[in-house]
């Protein structure tokens, strides 16, 4: 029987707290930027000029058909060869934003295309411009329709940020690895971190479900 010693892990609570901070911070930044990019790309894919549709379509396929860790390593280890040297934190944010925006594009587009034709026609008859129609008539109800799917995707990206520890970002999984490499209590370390992830995912989901109707698309 294994003797569990959670005290050995919790003694390093500062490392864990920093880890939670980084995980949430990375998630917050990538959620906001990823959603904005996702909306822009969804517009490009459904209403943009033909060349733009092709380019964005290729981007979406590229992101959705390659592993996140490969995208991250490409940005961190690969781009310096082309002269773009990024800190691990910036590289992580870029990778997470790119990843989320790829998925968000398709999720938002599904909502946009589900907009009833009559709604657009009504807006056109009111002489609204194309930009106005998209931003004020099409997007808000589209976001309301796809919000649960988008929240799930944001949670997936948050859990995916565990990979960023591989390039030395001190997020939560990195913290667990660092602690267990010092006291060899890997079982306890990962039990605790798994529990923290579970709580974070639950809280973030509740927060987004609450914030969506109030700040993003209106009731």
């Amino acid at each position: 029987m294994v003797a569990l010693d959670f005290g050995a892990i919790l003694a390093d609570w500062r490392t864990l707290l920093v880890g939670v901070g980084w995980t949430l911070g990375l998630t917050a930044v990538s959620a906001v930027l990823g959603l904005l990019l996702g909306i822009a790309f969804a517009w490009a894919r459904s209403e943009g000029p033909a060349p733009l549709r092709v380019v964005v379509g290729a981007y979406v396929e590229l992101i959705r058909n390659t592993p996140f860790i490969v995208q991250l390593f490409f940005i961190f280890f690969g781009l310096p060869a082309a002269g773009f040297r990024l800190s691990p934190e910036i590289a992580s944010v870029i990778a997470m934003v790119a990843n989320l925006s790829g998925y968000a594009t398709e999720i938002v587009r599904a909502g946009v295309e589900a907009t009833p034709r009559g709604q657009r026609e009504a807006a056109i008859s009111l002489a609204l411009s194309r930009t106005h129609i998209f931003l004020y008539v099409v997007v808000p109800p589209a976001l309301r329709r796809i919000w649960p799917a988008l929240v799930s995707q944001i949670i997936i990206v948050m859990l995916g940020s565990a990979v960023c520890g591989q390039i030395s970002v001190p997020e939560l999984t990195f913290a667990a690895n660092l602690i267990q490499s010092r006291n060899f209590r890997s079982f306890e370390a990962f039990i605790i971190v798994a529990a923290i992830y579970l709580i974070l995912a639950f809280l973030v989901r509740r927060l987004l479900r609450w914030a969506g109707p109030r700040f993003v698309f209106g009731r």
């Binding site: 961190f76 280890f77 310096p80 060869a81 040297r85 800190s87 691990p88 520890g165 591989q166 390039i167 030395s168 990195f174 690895n177 660092l178 267990q180 490499s181 010092r182």
Partner: protein, 264 residues
Amino acid sequence: MYAMTRRAALFAFTACAALLAGAAQAQNALDDITKSKTIKIAIPTDFPPYGFVGSDMAPQGLDIDVAKLIAAKLGATVELIPVTTANRIPYLQTKKADLVISTLGKNPDREKVIDFTIAYSPFFIAVFAPKAVAIKEPGDLAGKSVAVTRGSVDDQELTKVAPPSAEIRRFEDNNATISAFLAGQTQLVATSAQVASTIMQKNASLGLEYKFLLKDSPNFIGVAKGEDTLRTRVNEIVMEARRSGEIDRLCKKWLGREPGDLPM
């Protein structure tokens, strides 16, 4: 069934003990070397700069140079036997090699099965950086970024001495550490002499060099258990080489540093 197993174990144990006793009595390695004028020395070929295969396919490195030095002093021609970290001690126990010069550290478990001469070189962990980076001591790390493998001895030793403002970047394994350093993500790298030497070989244009020491662990020459005459003779040769500056020269040539204080 149980009794038989026990009897078999007892028999095996007795047989081993008899073999070991026989080995301990036979102190004739030095005589054999003098007579045949050849000495078999086990060396590494996968552990630069201590032992590796050069572009001419011949083994070279610090351990090989020491092997040649000892053979020359014994008046024998050297037969180099490539060994791995795992099989270097069995080679000695089974008399396939007279000496093991293979970056061998001393510990109580090993001392039970083989004998050691005095130390001839250091294996070490250090901070490395290109020539252009001016670093001489841990204090100079302030404000600089260092790549290190998370949870390794390298990490522990670096964490002990680095000032708070040093940016220690911890990576998953040696490959990630090296990749991050080579991609220019950090200015320095803290690692073992072996890993640093591999980087130097593959990226000569980088101008990587030794900056300061994190931890030393001396290397000893392994001799079969009980070969006291050979061990005494090799001790004399190593002592003489340490005194004459020959060991200093070899350490500077292969490790880029002085051997430091080598224990007896």
